[in-house]
């Protein structure tokens, strides 16, 4: 892949794939114009990561505006490399880069919501871990639905995922409501028994189907508007199998759409007049040398606190951080390297994270005079995620 150099390009172009390889960078004219205008307005040269922070600030004021598109463009390489690294080692032919890239980049809001706009520094590092987690989670979920029977899969859906899948399949709101009620009737009356696998549930028997249909036909009167027709067990079975199909294709988005315009192109609702809406005050305030200075300084301080905290950890916990963040080993490999059981790794990582979080939270309260709440601690946690990723992988 040819890396992008020019700042305008970095914030206004998108990866194009040719089959499952990188092909070229495609430029979005609106974003290009918007970025050019910003550069004109800015009093001095601004480092790339500060443009990231700037657009993140604008995004938090208007999550649906152009800022989001700029950030999607900005995070293309990070998403590409996270995808590549994460799926290495998965031999299945089902996992290809464009497909996982697409799923990861649509999870952009998780990156943007999680990143701490006030104290964050390396948006790219934060995006790297978030994308990696998203892809790992996607692969895990695919493995699970691949080995589940239809009837098991139905029990393993959240209501929200089911609704999204059905909407994604293009069903009308009334039909979605009917299917959801059919699904919840099924879940109420068809319960696994503990002796058998929850992944291998058989088709319900005749008696259970009747009970599900009775339940549905009774509930539809109060729960659905309009209540619709009473349904037979045959119809119910069809509906539920449609739910299964919709849920499967939700996790395997159509690969032909890869060659379609990327996110950023398709949002036709963003009118052109938005381009050029540079918020001067924010830009100036952002770019005043003082602010840059201050953030740099704070980032260094945070680094000092965390480096000290890491130095105080027992040797095996330091090793664990190294294996996880720098070498990106999988759980089983870490367990082997540290000669312990897999379950212990999760607990140990949580413990290490807790001790770093505690150190930085105390520092935040004492030095920055911010009083602690769950919310502040949550943000502090994302700062640590970001810092650890950057510390162990300085060049994303």
């Amino acid at each position: 892949m040819r890396p992008r150099q020019d700042i305008v390009e970095i914030f206004s172009t998108f990866i194009q794939f040719d089959l499952d390889r990188f092909s070229n960078w495609a430029s979005d004219p609106r974003l290009r114009r918007s970025m050019n205008q910003c550069l004109k307005e800015s009093p001095q040269e601004i480092a790339e990561n500060f443009w990231g922070i700037y657009w993140h600030k604008k995004w938090s004021k208007n999550p649906k505006g152009l800022a989001r598109e700029h950030l999607i463009a900005y995070l293309q390489e990070v998403c590409f490399w996270s995808t590549n690294k994460t799926i290495t080692g998965f031999t299945s032919s089902q996992y290809n880069v464009p497909d996982c890239f697409q799923v990861a980049i649509t999870g952009i809001d998780k990156v943007l919501k999680g990143f701490d706009g006030d104290r964050g520094y390396h948006l790219k590092s934060y995006a790297t871990i978030t994308f990696s987690n998203l892809i790992r989670e996607l692969l895990r979920q695919r493995q699970e639905i691949d080995i589940c029977s239809e009837w098991s899969l139905l029990r393993k859906l959240s209501q929200k995922r089911l609704i999204e899948s059905l909407q994604n399949a293009g069903l009308s709101p009334d039909t979605v409501a009917q299917y959801v009620l059919a699904w919840s009737s099924f879940k109420t009356l068809y319960v696994p028994n503990r002796q058998s696998s929850t992944r291998k549930l058989n088709k319900p028997d005749e008696f259970t189907w009747k009970a599900i249909a009775n339940w549905y036909n009774q509930e539809r009167i109060t729960q659905l508007n309009p209540p619709g027709e009473a349904v037979s067990t045959t119809i119910l079975e069809q509906w539920l199998l449609s739910c299964v199909k919709a849920a499967r294709s939700y996790l395997y988005p159509n690969v032909t759409s890869i060659n379609q315009p990327k996110p950023g192109y398709e949002s036709g609702e963003i009118v052109d007049s938005l381009v050029g809406d540079v918020e001067e005050s924010l830009l100036n305030q952002m770019i005043v040398e003082e602010e840059v200075e201050q953030r740099n300084q704070q980032q260094n301080q945070i680094g000092d606190v965390l480096i000290q905290a890491i130095a105080k950890l027992p040797a095996d916990e330091r090793k664990l951080l190294e294996l996880y963040y720098a070498q990106k080993l999988k759980q089983a490999a870490i367990a082997k390297a540290l000669n312990t059981k897999q379950y212990n790794i999760s607990r140990q990582l949580t413990r290490v994270k807790k001790s770093l979080l505690k150190s930085l939270a105390i520092w935040t309260e004492e030095t920055l005079h911010i009083s602690l709440t769950s919310d502040v601690i949550k943000n502090t946690s994302t700062i640590i995620d970001e810092w650890l990723e950057h510390h162990y992988n300085p060049n994303p």
Partner: protein
């Protein structure tokens, strides 16, 4: 189990012992629906409590009176220090949402400070604690779903780092976690009896959705009524003292920890005026309070008058100062002479009440005995 992990999420193994215990516990459930729900609740509670006790310096305890709630509602509860943590088990394999039954939010007696999203993978025998939120956040950012009476929070809005919870407990234990809860309307014991009869029928598969929430909440907020409803659904006998004093009842009552004992009326001391030489039957329940063994006795004194007596089971043992034995009406109201407190260490605590046939009482002891279940005793 999966080879992929996110260091912010906690993965806990379900042990064979815990699994077996959950199976045993759920066998008594009323329906296959509640059996499965009880099973999952129990797996999550025991596994998480074991973990928290190992990792947390604060005192971690299962909440009193709550272990059977899986018969009625999804979710389970523990106390960590002075915080109440609600665990919400889910079979869903995706992490799209946290779905909390309204009971855990809008009933003051049940509401918690923190809510943990717990995914269960039965086949691979592990739990994944993938995030948490507070009562306040659920109330402000959550959506209310009318069809299943749940508050839902999008996965993206959940605090995804579970260690943040422990650090918050340590560094800001007094933060405000709860939004205001509207007080519940009250119901009479007559209404409660009728509801328990009606909803106690297990043909009623989802009792929580069978009556308006305000009524359901009033019923559920009372420990004893809730336990009665559960007992009724699971075909467990409700506690009828007169019936249980009869010889043939000895099997039923032993199931819930009571037994019949013979006593000489004179042992009740000067209070037993009608003392005769013949022995009578009383009911006794062994209790563990703060690690020590005690016995609560229910003694028929005269017709319609009963004595409640608490003694140490240790030879020569005393009741420490500060212990209180208390009786409440079925609707949890106090009445004159309903408490006996040990101001100094004392041999026994004793209360005597006169009752009309059919009246109900709830007993309580402070400090609360282990495995205490509030239950209405009918006379």
């Amino acid at each position: 189990m999966s080879t992929l992990l996110n260091p912010n999420q906690l993965i806990l193994e379900i042990s064979a012992v815990t699994e077996q215990k959950a199976q045993n516990k759920s066998q008594k459930a009323a329906t296959s629906y509640s059996e499965w729900q009880t099973y999952l609740n129990q797996l999550v509670l025991d596994t998480f409590v074991d973990y928290a006790q190992e990792e947390q310096s604060e005192n971690v305890k299962k909440a009193q009176n709550m272990e059977s709630i899986g018969e009625l509602v999804n979710g389970t509860v523990l106390n960590v220090g002075n915080a109440r943590i609600i665990l919400i088990p889910s079979e869903a394999d995706d992490l799209e949402e946290l779905r909390v039954p309204q009971e855990w939010i809008d009933i003051p007696q049940l509401a918690g400070d923190y809510y943990l999203a717990v995914q269960i993978n039965i086949d691979d025998r592990y739990l994944r604690v993938w995030g948490y939120t507070t009562h306040q956040q659920l109330k402000t950012d959550g959506n209310y779903s009318v069809s299943d009476r749940c508050y839902t929070l999008d996965g993206i809005d959940i605090i995804g780092d579970i260690s943040a919870l422990w650090v918050a407990r340590e560094l800001c234990p007094d933060e405000v976690t709860k939004a205001e809860i509207t007080p519940l309307t009250e119901i009479t014991s007559q209404q409660a009896d009728n509801l328990i009869k009606r909803l106690g029928n297990k043909e009623n598969l989802l009792p929580r959705l069978a009556v308006p929430f305000t009524i359901w909440a009033a019923l559920l907020s009372n420990d004893a009524w809730r336990n009665d409803l559960i007992a009724q659904r699971c075909d467990k006998a409700t506690f009828s003292v007169l019936k249980w004093l009869q010889a043939e009842a000895s099997n039923i009552i032993s199931e819930i920890g009571w037994r019949q004992v013979e006593f000489q009326p004179s042992t009740v001391g000067a209070r037993g005026n009608n003392a005769t030489a013949t022995s009578k039957t009383a009911l006794a329940k062994q209790l563990t309070i703060a690690g020590q063994s005690y016995e609560l006795k229910l003694i028929p004194v005269e017709e319609d008058t009963y004595g409640f007596e608490l003694r140490s089971l240790v030879l020569g043992g005393m009741i420490p100062a500060g212990f209180t034995l208390r009786l409440l009406t079925e609707t949890r109201e106090g009445f004159e002479g309903n408490e006996d407190t040990a101001t100094t260490a004392t041999e026994s605590l004793y209360l005597e009440v006169a009752l009309d046939a059919g009246e109900g009482l709830i007993w309580e002891i402070e400090p609360t005995p282990e495995d205490y279940q509030a239950q209405v005793l009918y006379f």
